[in-house]
Symmetry: C2
Subunit: 405 residues, 2 copies
């Protein structure tokens, strides 16, 4: 049951990108579980990947391929993560890329593989390669919505977003899809995200644009604090639209960055809204820090605390747990008397203790809402950051206890 | 429902310690919630306290009192943590100490206050001081078992342990009680522990003995990763028994250390066995590390992961989640190919991938047990450490969602 999230309306095509979704029976029959994304010649891609030391074979291979040549195809499967599979896992990922390259007439290095699903099971290469001809034949610029559904695992709602901006040179469009609802934590999550624009963007600007967008989106969310072996976020620029960007600080560059930020933030928040078992969408805004890093440390201490998250589930304004999380975040020389905490618009903690005029009824009125903002002022600087998370419910346990059965 | 844990049998009295438990109605009427522990003149105490920056008023006051004089009384209440209560909270803790000092004829500094329970509510000073005469009149050397019950909050089973060792000088006895089942994480937890010995121990040796024992007990457990505002562990030496210890490395010192280690480890494990909603008791042993710190980092990454903990709840040998946790623990230059993981006696991961001869049935046979050991060999050194934790169940959510209601 996602928090105020519904599947996206028709996503805007991006000239130079076509997609197909097919059912290969990777884990279960009868649902689309392989997505092929084709990038027309002349396009570029930038990517960021999981920082988990146990990254999956497709992550290693996609990194390697991306370093050697411009990609022509992204081959994505759900149902199987091809992680913890050792040498045979790498061979399986390579075999899929090789077969697609043979069929499409490109170099294997021009194929980027991505997998999400159960860890440690052998990837069914034959079942995936068997559907590649169908996928190639079915490529369609309008394939974003079906692809958003095909990459889902424990997601309950497909995630996609499109933004179009007018510029003096003509329109600029950005469309993205993402999946992920568990193992969500920065650096990164069981999360896959594919964002494309029709702008022409230099490789340097494209990578920088992606990294900037990450800092305000996918790297600012947490569901359970676990970081997955398979995460990847790819930003594609086809160069087939009206706008060209060499410098992100130019007017066109700022338009592009804002549009990519918007798509990434919307997708990242969608992942949290669809967090496993989520009933509340929680914004943790920490301000008054010495630098952004310490604001993030405090925000994550709150956003990761199972005690805080179960209190949100219970609509219990248990501000003591929030305060305790601030306290154990580990900031040097934190002056407790300078710390204020707001729940929505209600000041619940002033100077490190319960605010004098705070009443439980005020707190409960905020807690009863589906979307809640916790604002912590550390009172020792001007830096700030925001993290998004969800509550911790019975269903989180149920989903993760039943996942493989 | 605690995992293989029952209330202790009669705990051994410690000459020089008397206890009383009384019902003050701190939070709810009808149960003992105030404990008075009297230490005869000539005794000593050492203590360690929470490292949470938002430590509670009684923690601040107990630290201060302990630094100035040898304690005569420990005054403990459950039902209210007196944390996040600002200046009035400190005044409340001081008022309780002052009234006890007046009634008992000692200095207020000789009273150490401890509180556990809800954060942010005013401490009902009058209700606590009203029962102090009854408590003083009821002091009894055999009061350990009732005290173990009176300090419980969400605990379902009272926790206590006694050890008696023979030495060439005569017997040495150590008795301890503890409470805690949520907000459990090192440095420290919503945990109170009081351990006493009849040995005569120098102040330096006593503090060192306590700190050594912590490293293999209370600082090696986690239930939910939250660190509380109120934790304290006190080690008392009355000097009224047959054994004297100046040097922990002497034969008598080693006997004392072993006995205190035994009591602390048993109490710490009891806290995990009674972890909120626990159905499994899990030992995470990490070996082959470069130093103990990195072993602890990996062990805690596993022990804190909600995905690992829900898999244990489901008896699901989802070794991929264990491997993912090892991967995101953040060790520099971890060689995946050197990592082995055992579940019980079954090798599930060899060289960073599923062990060749591993079968799901083997893993499930281990997972079906109530006590499970996960052993990770990092393959890059000789250091090791062990952390204890429990699984993550529906009841964890229920308990923490309902705690204040």
């Amino acid at each position: 049951m996602a928090v105020r999230l519904s599947a996206p309306g028709p996503l805007a095509p991006i000239a130079g990108v076509r997609l197909a979704s097919v059912a290969a029976g990777v884990r279960k029959p009868g649902r689309d579980d392989v997505v092929l994304l084709e990038l027309a010649p002349g396009g570029r891609a930038a990517a960021v990947f999981t920082q988990n030391a146990f990254c999956a074979a497709p992550v290693t291979l996609a990194r390697r391929h991306l370093a050697t040549t411009a990609p022509r195809y992204l081959l994505i499967n759900s149902g199987n993560a091809n992680a913890g599979t050792g040498g045979p896992g790498m061979a399986a990922a390579q075999a899929c890329c090789a077969e697609l390259a043979r069929l499409a007439g490109c170099e294997p290095d021009a194929v980027l593989p991505f997998s999400t699903g159960v860890i440690g099971e052998p990837l069914p290469v034959d079942r995936i390669t068997a559907v590649l001809p169908t996928a190639l034949a079915g490529l369609d610029a309008r394939g974003w919505n079906t692809a958003a559904r095909a990459i889902m695992t424990t997601d309950t709602v497909a995630k996609g977003h499109s933004v179009t901006r007018d510029t003096p040179h003509g329109p600029l469009t950005v469309t993205g899809i993402a999946k992920g609802s568990g193992m969500i934590h920065p650096n990164m999550a069981t999360m896959l995200a594919y964002v494309a624009t029709d702008a022409a963007v230099s490789q340097t600007a494209l990578q920088r644009c992606l990294e900037r967008a990450m800092g305000g989106s996918f790297n600012r969310i947490t569901v359970d604090g676990d970081t997955s072996t398979n995460d990847a976020c790819v930003l594609i620029a086809t160069g087939q639209g009206a706008v060209a960007v060499d410098d992100l600080d130019s007017p066109a560059g700022e338009t592009l960055q804002a549009a990519v930020d918007d798509v990434c933030r919307t997708l990242a928040q969608a992942i949290v809204r669809d967090g496993e078992g989520a009933t509340k969408f929680i914004t943790v805004a920490v301000e008054g820090g010495r630098d952004e890093a310490e604001c993030a440390t405090v925000a994550y201490a709150i956003a990761r605390s199972p005690l805080v998250k179960t209190a949100f589930f219970a609509s219990d304004p248990n501000w003591g747990r929030i305060l305790a999380a601030v306290g154990y975040a580990g900031l040097d020389n934190l002056d407790l008397d300078a710390v204020h905490v707001h729940l929505g618009e209600v000041c619940i903690v002033r100077g490190g203790a319960r605010a004098g005029n705070y009443t439980e009824a005020q707190g409960q009125a905020v807690m009863a809402q589906e979307e809640i903002t916790v604002r912590v002022d550390l009172g020792r600087g001007t830096a700030r950051t925001t993290v998004w998370t969800c509550d911790f419910s019975y269903d989180y346990v149920r989903i993760n206890a039943e996942y493989r059965t």
